[in-house]
């Protein structure tokens, strides 16, 4: 049954036991976003040191897909440079869009592979990408302020 593809154990696990939930005090990076159509909310905050994401947290409310996706995101981005993070986010969005990645990107999605099932549920795509779009916005905003300095 296709539903099991969508609601894989990893996803349900991250939904029930979200990792890195909360808000970082005095964050370097911070962005809040909503999906006006279904009411999902995501707040992403992070600490950046020398261009590396040292810590990242999320808070918000929403369905199992949006919340587990955010939880998985925090694990995936931690330790990456901003540049790596942006490449990774772009690649992840490509995967959800159902596109094959070129062989040579060398990107390993790890547990995030579990979200691939969403490609079969187009109505849920926005749930899966909300956190990622938010993180991308956040990084862009950070880079903009810092290149202005």
């Amino acid at each position: 049954m296709a539903l099991e593809e969508l609601y894989q154990e990893i996803i349900l696990d991250h939904y029930r036991h979200p990792r890195n939930k909360g808000k970082i005090e005095d964050p370097d990076i911070h962005e809040h976003a909503t999906n006006p159509l279904c009411g999902d909310e995501i707040d992403i905050s992070a600490k950046v040191e020398n261009g590396v994401i040292k810590e990242v947290k999320f808070s918000g409310q929403g369905c199992s897909i949006s919340q587990s996706s955010a939880s998985l995101l925090t694990e995936a981005l931690k330790g990456k440079t901003l540049e790596e993070a942006e490449t990774f986010i772009a690649a992840f969005r490509e995967m959800l869009a159902g596109h094959e990645l070129p062989e040579d990107t060398g990107i390993d999605f790890g547990e995030l592979e579990a979200l691939r099932g969403v490609t079969k549920f187009p109505a849920r795509l926005k749930c899966a990408t909300l956190a990622w779009n938010t993180a991308q916005e956040a990084i862009k905003a950070f880079e903009k302020t810092h290149s202005n300095h």
């Binding site: 296709a2 369905c63 199992s64």
Partner: protein, 423 residues
Amino acid sequence: MAQENLSARKAVHFSSGHSINLSAIRKDFPVLSQMINGHPLVYLDNAASTQKPMSVIQKMQTFYEHDYANVHRGAYELSSRATDEYEEARRKIVDFINAAGSKNIIFTKNGSEAINLVAYSWGRHFLNEGDEIVLTEMEHHSNLIPWQLLAEEKGLTLRPVPIREDGTLDMEVLKKVIFSKTKLVAVTHVSNVLGTINPVAEIARLAHSVGAKILVDGAQSVPHFSVDVQALDCDFFTFSGHKMLGPTGIGVLYGKEEILEEMPPFLSGGDMISEVWIDHATWNELPYKFEAGTPPFVEAIGLGAAIDYLQTIGMDWVWEHEQELTQYALAQIKTVPDLEIFGPTENRAGVISFKIADIHPHDVATFLDQEGVEIRTGHHCAQPLMRRLCIPGTARASFYLYNTFEEVDRLVAALNKTREFFK
């Protein structure tokens, strides 16, 4: 499930007057006979929009194939036919809601535009700083944001009336907030989330007693039971074609003639004018003063066919049938473990909002969709109401004349399955 129960109901059904055959009705709706994800479609999102009978689809098709031309401005055969059919559709609306005449009926593109028309034209012209608008916590955004924007522009105060625990309007508060400064009461006839039916005739009396006008958002009432705008004594009444078997692209504003007469135009351009100079103009008579440009006249004609269909079935039958479905559904849905229903249990329409345990509504919808059961989830354009209920959204099943008891059973079975999976 409950098979005897069901046949008993059906007997009641058929004894109630004419012999209406539900499966015959369903055959009129081509969309219903399809499979979704391997199951026969169960369409339960009627509060968002309803399906269309063949007669409506075909009416528009035939019109495009045989009689199409622009309305109002032509002195030739095709254009006369189009104009006649457009005005005939308007008269059907007049009859359907018992308006005084064609001058009271303005065609818009949807229910929202009808409310915006009143906010922009009447509101901007007649309301002044310090005036108050009373509305309710259960309004659809379309009967809230236009008043927020107007309030901001004009320095008005909005007075939201809260709901009580049982999902009904708190009439005690309503009576208190309506006073001499109140210039408008904007209230939904039926809540699109809770199914609550508001006592609009009584609210109209309260509004009029202080000289205020009343606008009733009838998007969720007119499709389901017979409405008499003059008996309700409302000053404005709005609704959407697509929620009552009609096409998209058409809505209706009813207004009392003396009020519409005094209102300045809203949208302007072709057809709504009388005489035009390069720097000023005078206006056409009602209802055309408010219909700028080429109106959605094929859509109006389609809505006319929808009204014909509803009247053939009979609005009493429609309402009775939905009431039986709703009572049955309320009883059955409640049997799902950890399920909570929002809204009143009695005197309510066929819109049922609920949540199951802490399963997010969006996840519920995806599960049901896999079973072919199509419901709506989210805030239903009623975010303030969601805040009041302290929930991010609900799952919502809503019925119309073509829904069956078996479909309710399918819904309940799917809900049980969902509950199992997320346990």
